[in-house]
Symmetry: C2
Subunit: 295 residues, 2 copies
């Protein structure tokens, strides 16, 4: 039997209650709960902002343009979610872990599922462009024990801030991507090039909003990771370059304190030779990941 709907008519004061009152017969309890929260916060924001009719129409047109900009290749609403910190917040809510465990950050749109698996120490830079870099460290459990056989799926932009998939025919396929597995001592290492910051797509309504807010569209340089092993909580994360000029103003708020690495310049010729480079220096990045048990 359906519940009788409340009979109150609309006033400025009772507005949100009147609206959610009409959801009394919703079969989908979760949607009902979601709409209760959204409606109340939306009405509270409107009461705080007191938009004019013209301002409200601007908001409608902004959302409409954001929809029109979105297709199978470009998702402007995800971008909006990103620049408002909502993507990061949803990620944070869904990846709460014990203190000490490596933190998540956003996946981003540039992961591919079929990157090649390489032996430890392989250089994932396939075109030799950029500053040489070694990335190394260990994967440990929350008690400090090494974990072997952990899958490390890594991908990054090149030294000009572009991913291979953004430069088909310019970069080799699978440039700066690879899968590694930790050894018995939990260690991993591979060679690459120091990544560069880049802009999120800024030619749409979200870019225009950022400009109007005096915000830039850049993300500080980073490497992406998905770190996984059965029995452990999978970590989707980045490590960040602390020297990047955008480290304190990531346009999508992906930076967490615990994810800022160290990029150490090594000029010692023995060490350069030892890792197999032949230049005058390389960047050494040591970063350990800590996995929490799967709950």
């Amino acid at each position: 039997m359906s519940e009788e709907l409340p009979k109150a008519h609309f006033t400025e004061e009772n507005s949100a209650d009147v609206v959610v009152g009409q959801n009394a017969n919703a079969q989908n309890a979760r949607l009902k709960e979601v709409m209760h929260s959204i409606t109340h916060h939306l009405h509270a924001a409107i009461k705080e902002i007191e938009p004019t009719q013209e301002e409200w129409m601007q908001a409608i047109m902004f959302l409409t343009k954001t929809g029109h900009m979105s297709d199978d290749w470009r998702q402007e609403f995800i971008l909006l979610s990103d620049v408002l910190g909502v993507s990061m917040l949803v990620d944070a809510i869904n990846s709460r872990r014990p203190k000490g465990a490596s933190e998540n950050t956003v996946l981003g749109p540039f992961h591919v599922g079929d990157a090649p698996e390489y032996p430890m120490g392989t250089n994932i830079c396939l075109d030799g462009k950029g500053d040489d870099m070694v990335v190394r460290g260990r994967v440990l459990d929350v008690d400090g024990n090494p974990i072997s056989g952990v899958k490390i799926d890594v991908w990054q932009a090149n030294d000009e801030g572009f991913y291979d998939v953004q430069q088909k025919g310019i970069q080799p396929d699978f440039n700066l991507r690879g899968v590694f597995r930790t050894g018995d001592d939990g260690s991993y290492w591979f060679k690459a090039v120091r990544p560069k910051h880049y802009s999120i797509p800024a030619d749409g309504p979200v870019g225009a909003l950022l400009a109007e807010l005096g915000r830039h569209p850049f993300r500080p340089a980073h490497l992406h990771y998905i770190i996984s092993k059965d029995g452990y909580d999978e970590v989707t994360t980045h490590i960040f370059d602390p020297d990047d000029i955008y480290i304190d103003s990531d346009s999508v708020f992906g930076v967490k304190e615990s994810l800022i690495a160290d990029f150490v310049r090594v000029e010692d010729s023995d060490r350069i030779a030892e890792v197999g480079f032949d230049g005058l220096f390389y960047w050494d990045v040591e970063f350990d990941f800590i996995l929490a048990p799967k709950v």
Copy 2:
């Protein structure tokens, strides 16, 4: 000189503050204020809802579809604003009036600017379809004095719930629309037909949302008005039929207590003849409008 941006990185706790911190250099103070409010309420809603990644993607796709449904003829985001009570709330905020003055409600999409002006008593029903109706009353100021020369712009759906502009070639042009002016005693009257409830467009994502929420898409039967005279606050409003089955559940929340009229069935043959009808009955609707001085 631009303000130095705050250096805090993202956490679940400080998320909204970190996001609005990046707007420190916005030149547009109003937009900065608006984004402060929107960001805080949006993050608060997300923290309350704790959406899964899949749920968040559903929200993104809902907004995307709502954008794709919108074009020059169909505005699905306005419809979304309507069914969430936001259009009514924005209208209420922008039309606060002294107690006793006629209240506003939403304009809706069916007003046309060039409806013909008629002498008092004219029948605006041009095709003779539906139950005869007389609408009459006075326009007064807040002290109860009649106001002459007030422009009364009225439009309504027909007895099947369609406006003329929705049925080009079926209804005559300008059917059930007209402009009248009050006489020296502030009175107005015209003839029409009793309107019927109708559905808002329900074949898009907003209609699907209503269905999932157990809500119907109907608006209770009503007449639209714009009532205006120099020196007075213009009133955009409806009057509603109290006997309509949807009177307590308007899908866009347009009903306010003060806007519910009385539809009285008149079967007295003398009165029927006096107003110029020739049927067995007509509906008599008496409704006074009270105009507040322009501020």
